[in-house]
Symmetry: D2
Subunit: 363 residues, 4 copies
């Protein structure tokens, strides 16, 4: 199968999803750029778009090459309550960078907002909507292709976001950062999905906080909630690339390894192929990643679903499927690893004999 | 302590080492660029320097920012026996990229060669030296600051490399990819070090194939070998960022996880601070990394040794030492992680309940 | 607190339970006597009572000394369908051994039956009840104190057993070998408990197949089922001494380690103290063990609940609570282990670096 | 192959070993009887021989049945410095129990002494030899078949023991409780073996403190030490049944799990078959066990070496080799476990997801 752009270059988000196509999301910005030294832990803000634009552009480019159909603006927490006067320049620069790269391949630009720092202190709908509206105005001015509201712990705040996003006339996707236990007020995933679709979201799902399998558990509950109410919406998932079977309601924040010792939990490319396949089988068609998702993880989504989509991503020029690059190795035991069965059944060791398999989350 | 360039900007390798200063090496190119989709597993060749120069420049820049004092040319396996007619353009472009970035900070450029594909078939000294000489001619023409011969499994071939490198009149560093059991002909690390220094190397050590602690074990044996013979040389170490207590003589190549499922073995930044400290205590002054070393791992070396050196790397602008960025977190149990004792004693879990701690290496 | 018999020597099962007292059950016979070489894996039959009576008497004696208030006759599978003509002699000898030991302490004798080999082939109530009735006639003739029907996978067969046991006029306890998912026909634990109490059982609960925490999960569901129906009964639990968080509906039978490699799963005495406390807190008052429960595990139950009961078991003459026997050790780091906090927080290592934490059960 | 006594019933220790026969030792008394509640942790003394003689006799009987050719008197620490005036009655009763059982099968009686509590305070050869001599006088009076001095941390004290034992005219076996690093004064295993054989020992080896593989490493070093000096002696090994790859010089005493949380480290029967085979291949012919060795572990030694010896132990009447008892099971996936390959390659899980593989020993 040839690597290529795919047939859908000029088509919008809903055109693609309504046609049953897979939309591959992008991956990790905050955590990845922290490891490249452009983002600071604790702040987790995207001032790199103005301070180190080449670094951000390069990462967008890597995701594009890996198969992403969406360049999300790197505008996480870039609202006035958190970034103060810098907020506007950051949102503008982020749009420019995303668009610049999107134009070089088959990708849409998504303007992206997240939960505010206000909600847990005062549930002040007017103030919070005003914050959202400021960012959206920039996105509309820059004419992004669609909008994403993501990383919401409380469905109520996400519903307010959907209200604001709808005003723009652009397609609206919304993701909560919840697990199977529901939002932080105890609203179940099924009920959350219902409220978001009733508020006007075109695509609903989850991102961040939980690893691949846990996130798909939550998606299954959302899907069932919508089905029970007779509602229809497209589904999206952008999980962590960290395995988190042991985390509680707050997700990976509550694991003792967060945020500086998550390495042993990072998914392999094969783990992500499994995730992509399971998401697809569940009916999810917008499939991407969040913290920890490196370009090769996104490539794994695009390669796993290549049979359905009919093409491979550009990055596959440098990647044999299922380890096939090893088939010419001089050592026979390494050649023997050039096959799918080998990598599918391998249980990788940690090389850390003093470390347990699971952690007890802090509460 | 302020982040900065450090005092040594214009001084050569031996000036620094003779003065007892620490030289921070750079990190992983092949494995890191494979994850960013610019290098292919199985080939492991650096054609990215001509195909995707921005990606390579960006990685050099990240290491510079993280504190590296050396920009190694990305010329691994870029000799005629492997890259055929492309070899010369690749070596030239790699020098240009390394110099371009080195000029923006306190770093030297090192022209770098590695073992040939010929040696295991015919131990033909003349042919092999001719291959080395071709690459060195490019490096001399481009006027790099010093030369590195690295990743040799057999000390004999490394000795030949040292002979050729000496002809250039530039300082010579040489690294074997061996563990405590010695080279593949059974020459002990101590004896290897002796032969390399007697051949004219200024700096000797190991790179690749083994993780932080195993590599330091090998260094200790090399140091003892030199001491017993009354020889003097500077020591260098550029270990894997993967924990490999369970691998045999061939190093990580023989682990079943190589090369596609090494994730759970990746060192944390705290593991690398420990590595830097132990290397320093052993008397090693050229300290860097090999496969798996991301920019934040290099930053960890520079931060650990900041008290000795008197300055932090530029990347520390975005990094609080020992987790201090967490001290303003809203959740008390996350604030409690903003201290050295916490991260030093943490044994991180893998989140993989079905995976063992160690693997049985293939033979 | 003195070690002793306790006040209740001559009182019956229901007298004790109705008064809110704890009744400590006994432990493992089949698995323990297999390790002592008197029982054969695959047969799992109790012919040792006639072939090696001293070995069986010794084990009863060890449980009595450890604090058991019940000597269960070693008559598991000792029905005619399995043991053929030997069945009667085995049941008689088992009663004699249990009574002989019970008379030396504060223990009751319980005649014990289990599920038949017939049920899964023909659900023939008449034939099955006839088999139960034969064993019960021996128990009545030997005048045991009460009756136990245990290790039933299907609640229907257990209900038939209760019918037969009720005919004797003696108190009736009944245990299923089910987990939280219910019996093998899918009847939930809550509904199982209801049917057994409605059939006339005085005490209901679970034994075997699942480890301490899983068994208590099932008990909680049984308790809730009874509460919802307004029914009252005493609760009993006799869990495995093996940790089984990873097993499916069939319990430890489906783990790949069954039955010859369960060693790493064996509970420590501290794990069992936790189990006893949690069972007590849940309202369970008949607390014992099944496969894997050695005498020191039973002693751990009796020691944990000594504050409530007012006395320690005879075996505590040879056991300091919470490691206090170590307080005179010559090595200070071993003396430091003579305290409750140490043992409660210890996560014991397996010394098996190649083994995972959990298994994938066979189906 | 029939279970039976074996041909050697009336023959002495050296007759057997000189003829190249395997002598199967016995197993754990202190730790096993602690779990049965007849020995107290911290004291670790054998007063059970007078307080609970049936319990001790039963355990001897189980080892005899499992295949032991030696009944060691349960006289560990039964010297005057530790047991005061009780010492003599304990030694006498222990001889009677061992002989009573030995007479029922093919077993020799070994009078057994261990290191004193005096040595580490005053290296007073006269006083210490006097203590040894008292116990030996009882053994000579009771006419045991041979003598064992075991559990010595310092070879010097063991040499003194050999001197005293030699005076009896009976065969002398001697075991140190050391690992590959040698005795607590730093004497290497090879040198220890040389000193003991030069002092007059007929059989030398190790017991206790270290698990199966570590103990065999030490034996290999002892064998090499004797070979280098041209000395000849029979070799014996009585390892722990606990896996201890992570312990330091002091053995399992220094593991944080000692003595109350060693359960996950207990060897399976298959681990012990491997141990027996490796010991045999190394040339060791006296093969038994120490703490943690239950009767089924001794049976595993006797079954593994049955092809060489020509007979199975009596206990094999209740044990199919390599899981063959499972071949009639109704569930196909359990029948599939009735074969050697299954159990040999199984890596058993611990069912403890929060526990690491290895511990850091206390110092």
């Amino acid at each position: 199968m040839a690597a290529g752009k795919g047939p859908g270059a000029a088509r919008g988000l809903l055109q693609r999803l309504d046609a049953g196509e897979v939309v591959v999301g992008d991956g990790s910005f905050l955590i990845t750029l922290e490891k490249r030294s452009f983002v600071k832990v604790g702040c987790w803000t995207p001032e790199a778009v103005v301070e180190h634009p080449n670094a951000v552009r390069q990462l967008h480019m890597e995701f594009l090459r890996a198969g992403s159909n969406v360049m999300q603006t790197f505008t996480f927490s870039a609202s006035e309550d958190i970034m103060e006067s810098k907020w506007e320049a950051v949102n503008e620069a982020a749009c420019d960078l995303a668009q610049d790269v999107a134009n070089q391949g088959d990708a849409l630009v998504a303007g992206s907002i997240c939960q505010t720092s206000l909600y847990t202190r005062h549930r002040d709908e007017t103030k919070i909507k005003k914050l959202f509206r400021s960012q959206i105005e920039v996105f509309v001015r820059k004419n992004v292709d669609f909008l994403i509201a993501e990383y919401f712990e409380h469905v109520e705040e996400a519903v307010w976001a959907v209200h604001v996003l709808r005003e723009s006339g652009k397609p609206v996707a919304v993701s909560l950062c919840i697990g199977p236990a529901g939002d932080l007020h105890g609203v179940t995933p099924g009920e959350c999905a219902v409220r978001l679709v009733e508020a006007g979201a075109d695509v609903v799902g989850v991102n961040c906080r939980f690893g691949p399998s846990t996130s798909l558990e939550t998606l299954a509950l959302m899907k069932e909630g919508l089905r029970a109410k007779g509602l229809k919406a497209h589904l999206m998932v952008q999980a962590l690339a960290f395995h988190t079977p042991d985390c509680g309601k707050g997700g990976f924040l509550d694991l003792p390894e967060y945020p500086f010792a998550l390495e042993p939990r990072v998914a392999t490319r094969w783990d992500i192929q499994k995730y992509a396949r399971e998401a697809y089988n569940l009916g999810v068609r917008y499939i991407g990643g969040c913290c920890g998702f490196e370009p090769y993880h996104i490539r794994a989504i695009a390669e796993e679903l290549a049979p359905e989509r009919g093409f491979l991503p550009p990055a596959s020029e440098k990647h044999g499927s299922w380890g096939s690059g090893l088939d010419m190795h001089t050592k026979p035991w390494i050649r023997a690893r050039a096959r799918r069965e080998y990598w599918e059944s391998l249980q990788p060791a940690s090389g850390r004999p003093f470390c347990p398999a699971l952690s007890k989350p802090d509460v």
